[in-house]
Each structure stands twice: as C-alpha cells, then as structure tokens.
C-alpha cells in the first residue's frame, strides 16, 4: 500500500513537509523529480483522512495510487477540460 510520484512532478516541494511518514525525498542525486519510498508510505492511513501529498500536489497525474491510477486525473485540479487543453496545445504546436 503505497503511492508513487512520476516524472510529471515539477519539484515544487509542497508535498514533502506534509508527509507524516517521512516517505518523500526531493530530487536529490540527479533524480529529476520527487519520489516516495514505498516501504515508508502509509497512504496517510491513521494520520489523515486523505493522502497529504495528493491533496496539495498542483500537478495532475503526478501522484499515482498503488494500482498506478492518477489520484488527480486530467482536469481535476485546473478545471481545464482535457480535450480543450489538448486542442489548444495542438494548435500552438501547429504554428
């Protein structure tokens, strides 16, 4: 039972000080993003009603549950409908 962080992470440090299990490490030693130590992560069970890292992380898709599903799926934090974002980005790339 542990969460993980993928390379969508922007290294904003928001999650690290909140972790009750001291499971999060910064982008040290050449790592390009933050990481969760699966052995330490408790998913905040017993400490908080919701996993703290996933509750403050501003980046959609950066934090995954044990099954690899994004806890903050596209559109859930910014409110931008994913199709619109894709469309806008495609238009910009086509310029």
């Amino acid at each position: 039972m542990a969460l993980s962080i993928n390379d969508a992470c922007v290294n904003c440090w928001a999650c690290l000080p909140l972790c009750p299990s001291d499971a999060i490490t910064a982008n040290l030693d050449g790592a390009t993003h933050f990481a969760i130590d699966a052995k330490k992560c408790t998913e905040c069970d017993g400490d908080y009603a919701s996993p703290q890292c996933a509750s403050i992380c501003p980046i959609e898709g950066a934090i995954l549950d044990a099954g690899g599903e994004a806890l903050n799926p596209p559109g859930s934090l910014t409110g931008i409908p994913p199709e619109l974002l894709e469309q806008a980005m495609a238009e910009i790339q086509a310029r």
Binding site: C12, W13, P17, S50, S55, G79, A88
Partner: protein
C-alpha cells in the same frame, strides 16, 4: 562589471539595461500618489522602487526565488510553466536555497548599490514555505541590515505567520486580493489546501478571503505596511474590484495596485486555454481611476518577474547566476559603506530635483480655460526624463495626461518593437499594428523621430505623431503639444476616446 550610476546613461554597453524614465516633476514630486499618505508611511516607502513612482528611477529591487510550494491554485497560474522568456509574476527560472539566496542578494547589493529592497515572491507562496522564507530573512537581517525586506503572499497562511513576520522586522507585505465574494472567488481559485484537505469552489475561496482579510487586519494592528495587489479579470472581478479597493482601504492598506490579467493559451493556464481575455489599456486605466477615488493607486507596476534583478523595467539577473556569484568575493562591510555613499548622492540629487520642481511654475497649463478636456499622450524615452527615443525603438511608452489642471503620469504601455535597428523603419507592419492598438486612447505620441510609414498609420488611427521635442524634457513636450492642440482648436472638438 559596469555599474549604473546616478545620472549616467550606460547605453554604450550592449548589455545595458533599458532605462525607464519619466519626467521628474510629473512622476515625482507633483505625483498625487505619495502626497496623500501620512508622513510616517511616506517616510517608510519613499526609497522603495516598487511603491514610489519617483524612487524607481533611482533605486533598484530584487526578488529571490526561494519559495517553490503553493497552497492554492489560481486560474491565471500554471505551476508547470518555467520559461526564461516569461514575464508574468510568479514565473521564475532558478530555485535557490536560503543560503544561495543570501549569497546572491549580497553579491547584487555589493555590485548594484542602488539595490535597496529584497522581496520573496515565489514561485509559490512565500508563507507556504515558512522555513525557507524566514531563514533567508533571518540571515539577511543579520548580514545586510541596510536592505529592506518585503514579502508577497496570497494570504492563506498569513494570520498564522504574522507573529513571525513581525519578528523579522519586515515592514512591507503585499497581499494579492482578487475578491471579497466567495462566489467570484470560485471563478478565480479552483481550490485551496486548508487544514490538511483540498477544498474546492466557493467553500475554498471563502476560507482564502477570510484569511486574507484577517491577515490584513493583523498586519495593520502591528504597524506593518500592507499593499494590496489585484488582478483585473474582465467579466469576473473587474466591477467587483472597486468594492475590494474600498474595503482594503478602510482597513488601512496604503496602496492598491490593479494589474491586468495576462492570459495566453500557450501559458497553459485555465484562463489562457479557456480564452478568458485580459483588459485593454483603456479598461485598466478606467478601473484604476475608479479605484483611485478611494485610495492611493499604483500605476507604474510592470509586473516584474519573481526573480528579477535591477531597476523597475530592467532585469540584470543574468549577471548574477549561481555559478557567477560563486566566484565573487564580497566584502560586505566595504560594500555597505559604498552603498551608503551612493544613497547619500541619490538623496542629494532627489532633494535638488524636488527643490527645482517646487521653484518652477506649479502648473504650466494653469492659464488655459479650466473646462478643456484632458488628453492622453504617449512618450518614447530611454530615461533621464527627456524625449530621447525613436518611435520604432521604444519597448514601452509612458502615458501622460495633460489638462488645464497640469500634467500627470498615468502609466506604461508595452510596445511591440518592430524596428530592428536601422532608421528606415519600413518593415514589420503587423507588430506596428499591435503597438498602435496598445496606444488606444492616446491622441498623440511624442518621440525623437518617427518613420514615414508608422507616421501615416498613427495618423490614420487618430494618434498624432510628434517629433518636434527631441531631447527636451517630457513635461515641456506634453505641455507644448497640449497647447498646440488648444491653439488649433482640437480641444474643443468632442472626443470619443476620452477617459474619465
């Protein structure tokens, strides 16, 4: 390293920063902005380049990016974005540890004696990173006591940090307040992180608003100066900001700075992607005027980058990257003496300017009929308060209002530079169109020279180009053009472009 010294232009250097300038009296001693403040506050802000329109010609500020984390999401911000070409607030390229930040500040202070203010403003929220922010302040208070500290915050954690803030002897805090109504807040802030939970919509916005207002009151109680920033978002909070202005003033904020929303799809922000537009210069100016009836408004803010270094409108950050400061030997005790000397020179110069302005005829347009309509004029300048820039070279224009009540500085308009350097200026018509659009509401543009083709286009857009005042003081030029308009009868015609 070349230092920018008072009264000396460094246009000889290729890397020279763009000097921003406006007429000494129009933007300084006769400015209505500072004059309305109580003496105690005026004393505190008079050397602050971000708060005093006149001081920004002489003093510099810098920001360090030590605070990466944020505790709210705003619809005009994208936490993924990090681009050196960006110039929106809150976007930075180099995250520093407190130790690195302190080193950088001392390196800059030793090399740019005009640097008087250090701000922590991002890329996240300084108070959502209290250890990093306060460690930076603690070290600087000790090692560089001649630097003023200031901090900008969204206000969510402000009440719990006020005590700590007052310990660090920080006398300037900027709170970004975009609304006082949770329903409007829900259209600006999709969520806040509060008491270990992500809280969405109006409920989250309500918490943020309450914390902002409480924090504002607590700072005022402790005698800490508070400036309020607001982002003007047409159709969302534009009308509402008049109420915000009233409320924050009644609580004791000393300045309200209304900034335009900057939203482009390529920023990947909610507003950018959803096609929310920013205000045009005329709308912004009208709102600033409406709020100004209530309190001191700041009009010269150029929304500097959160890691900017230098005088307002310039960025010398490239001279002070981490590897460059690593190699610098800094004798701060010696630097502090030098700084004190430079500050004394600046003060002597400013006192002279103020005395000159007082000695001059108080209102050079006072003899005209009082009911003439006011006229906005754009001026191209490279600084020193004179008309000394070619229309096609101007990166920005200073806008002045002339009326029988006198000349007053209104604000800045950014230009698209369409001229690549030679004097012919015949190409790049489309950027010219953009520039002309940015000058909307102005009836004249005063510069040292204008090319033939922009001249025609300007005239067609109802903006009269004027190149007759090259190398003359801005105020004299504005007065001259206004008189010319009066004498030719242009002021008796009704104008649809009048801004109240």
């Amino acid at each position: 390293m070349e230092l920018k010294v008072l009264g000396q232009s460094n246009s000889g250097s290729a890397a020279a920063p763009t000097e921003s300038g406006c007429s000494k009296s129009a933007c300084g001693s006769t400015s209505d902005q500072m004059d309305q403040l109580p003496e105690s506050i005026r004393e505190k802000v008079k050397n602050h380049p971000c708060y005093s329109e006149e001081a920004h010609h002489y003093y510099a500020r810098m920001h360090v990016a030590v605070a990466p984390a944020c505790n709210i999401q705003c619809h005009y911000c994208n936490r993924k974005y990090d681009c050196a070409n960006e110039s929106r607030p809150g976007v930075v390229s180099e995250l520093l540890s407190p130790d690195q930040a302190v080193k950088k500040v001392m390196a800059v202070a030793a090399n740019i004696p005009q640097m008087t203010v250090l701000g922590v403003a991002g890329p996240g929220d300084p108070l959502a990173n209290p250890e990093r922010t306060f460690e930076t302040f603690r070290q600087l208070t000790e090692k560089a006591p001649d630097i003023k500290l200031c901090v900008s915050t969204n206000g969510l954690s402000l009440p719990e940090q006020v005590e700590e803030l007052s310990k660090h002897n920080i006398d300037h805090v900027t709170i970004t307040i975009n609304c006082v109504d949770p329903e409007i807040g829900a259209k600006i802030y999709p969520w806040v992180f509060w008491q270990n939970r992500r809280i969405r919509g109006a409920k989250g916005a309500k918490i943020l608003i309450e914390q902002q207002q409480k924090g504002l009151e607590m700072l005022i109680e402790r005698g800490i100066l508070v400036k309020v920033n607001s982002v003007m978002i047409p159709g969302v909070n534009d009308k509402h900001l008049v109420e915000v202005s009233k409320i924050v003033k009644s609580k004791g904020a000393f300045l309200h700075n209304v900034m335009p929303l900057i939203a482009e799809a390529e920023h990947g922000t909610f507003y950018g992607v959803m096609g929310q537009r920013g205000p045009n210069a005329k709308e912004l100016s009208a709102l600033q005027d409406e709020c100004a009836g209530d309190m001191n408004m700041m009009r010269h803010c150029r929304q500097c980058r959160a890691d900017a270094v230098g005088l307002l409108g310039e960025d010398r950050g490239a001279e002070f990257t981490l590897d460059k400061i690593e190699g610098m030997e800094i004798d701060y005790a010696a630097a502090m003496e030098k700084r004190a000397e430079v500050h004394a020179q600046i003060e002597a110069h400013r006192a002279e300017q103020a005395a000159e302005a007082a000695a001059e005829d108080a209102n050079p347009l006072g003899d005209l009929p009082a009911d003439l309509r006011p006229v906005l004029m754009a001026v191209a300048t490279q600084g020193q308060g004179i008309v000394n820039q070619h229309f096609g070279h101007a990166k920005e224009f200073l806008v002045y209002e002339a009326s029988p009540a006198g000349v007053r500085f209104i604000g800045h308009r950014k230009a698209e530079q369409y001229c690549s350097g030679d004097d012919t200026c015949g190409e790049g018509e489309s950027t010219l169109d953009i520039t002309i659009r940015s000058l909307e509401g102005c009836e004249a543009v005063i510069c040292s020279k204008v090319g033939y083709s922009p001249w025609e286009k300007l005239e067609a857009a109802g903006i009269i180009p004027n190149g007759e005042y090259a190398m003359e003081p801005i105020e004299d030029a504005v007065v001259g053009v206004y008189r010319g308009m009066y004498e030719s009868g242009a002021l008796s015609e009704a104008s649809g472009q009048l801004i109240a």
